[in-house]
Amino acid sequence: MLAVEKIREYFPIYKKHPRLVYLDSGATSLKPQPVLDKMNEYYAEYGVNIHRGVYELSFRATDEYDLAREKVARFINARPDEIVFTSNVTDALNKLALMYAKENLKAGDVVLTSELEHHSSLLPWMKICEENGARLRYIPLNKEGRITAENFKKALSKEVKVVAITFVSNVMGYRTPLEEIIPLAHENGSVVIVDAAQAVQHFRVDVKVLDCDFLAFSGHKMLGPTGIGVLFGKKRHLKNLKPVFYGGDMNQDVYFDHVEIKEVPYCFEAGTPPIAEAIGLGRAIDFLEEIGLAEIAAHGKALYQYAMEKLSGIDGVTVYNRDADIPIIAFNIDGVHPHDAATCFDQEEICLRAGHHCAQLVSRFLNCAGTLRASIYLYNNKEDIDRFISVLEKTIALFRKLDGGK
């Protein structure tokens, strides 16, 4: 287990809210002081634009921005010129879908995806298919709600040009067996686009080992600021895409009738980028590395198992994922709408997510009106789980009483 008390000293939100039990890191993580300091350093010490100024401050800002890109690249074992900064995963996956479909997707082609997708991995392709006559096909989930290599194989066919797939489900916490799936997809001639929004903050993602074609993640779920996301693409793929946004900084020569664009990845970053946020993300990566992803994973797993043991002794709760791969608990109190339950937790300063979690097809799969989700990260401890369980028991009792003691 991690020394949570020490870790919490880095997170100023606990000073403001000492009783906070934050179990919504799946939505966004809390932010440590070093990240805030780093962003403040940019604004306070060299807060000018990048790639433009011929003065020293601009060089400094540009250096820091480029260094952030290098850190991101090292973090997932990519090359810096394979890293495109975006504003978040939704932005990354939408841009990519638009760029990729324009050049490569035609009527009759199939985009293979899953019911576990976050809406940002699913909806861009759904809209593109509606417009250009390509088709969306879903990998059937197994009984437990997982994507399996076997079912993936069954869903694969010559028409599948794109596989748009989540690495980890944001509701169920299941890890997709991409190590098996990606080679199958490549044998079939399909490109694989991975939504890694719930993955990179929990375990080491190596894009070379994985051999995925594209992969996206957000800074704000991995201790970084909001407003910064990452799109990784293999260099040869990125070189074949044409930008969807044109404007400042992405061009190198402009004539009356045409424009010559900059090389990859700069051609995909039109306009002033989120500079402070990129630099903050670089610092967040350092912070994660200082603590260690393996240690964070082991800590999360231990707390998840501790919670599962406690939950198994409670009558009146349905847990949908007793065997999750990352520490996310999807559950409901029987007979109580998730939003009603969430209010009870909120009263005790316990932050949980309630609803569809931007992945409504999962609720449909589970046949429920949404779920409660408790997602665990490095600043959570056993006391958090104990308080969570205690309020859960109180909530069950309250609704039983209101229901006439049934």
């Binding site: 939003h339 609720s363 949404g370 609704f399 209101l402 229901d403």
Partner: protein, 140 residues
């Protein structure tokens, strides 16, 4: 703050045993609260400026669904003018601006919602739907 102030018996009763549930084909408005999944349709038969009948249909949390049920009982038989006034009274009460006009009747149980800002949207969703019906909107 007391949860029992929010989850009053009356509210839970209307949630478990909704009144006037099921649509009959009158002009209707369908509203959703996508963040939590509340999904409510309210219909009303309005004749000579009077709300002769109000029905609802939908799914969601106890606060939203019960509020739809309570709304149908509170506002049926009222004139459009009166209903509009009571809807605004309901909003003021929910926002904690006043304690609620006693003419709100059973709907006064939602007073407690004012202490739970995250739930204001749940309680008001059906009332917003009826408000739009009264303005002449119709989904059909």
């Amino acid at each position: 703050m007391n949860l029992e102030n929010l989850y009053r018996q009356v509210i839970l009763d209307h949630y478990k045993n909704p009144r006037n549930k099921g649509l009959k084909g009158y002009p209707k408005i369908h509203l959703k609260n996508p963040s939590c999944g509340d999904d409510i349709t309210v219909e009303a038969k309005i004749k000579d400026g009077v709300l002769e009948e109000i029905n609802h249909e939908g799914t969601g949390c106890s606060i939203c669904c019960s509020s739809a049920s309570v709304l149908t009982e509170t506002l049926s038989g009222k004139t459009v003018e009166k209903a509009e006034k009571l809807i605004n009274e309901f909003y003021s009460m929910i926002k904690g601006e006043d304690e609620g006009d006693e003419e709100l009747g059973e709907a006064l149980v939602y007073q407690g919602v004012s202490q739970f800002p995250a739930r204001i949207k749940c309680a008001t969703l059906p009332w917003k739907a009826l408000e739009r019906l009264l303005k002449g909107d119709d989904d059909e």
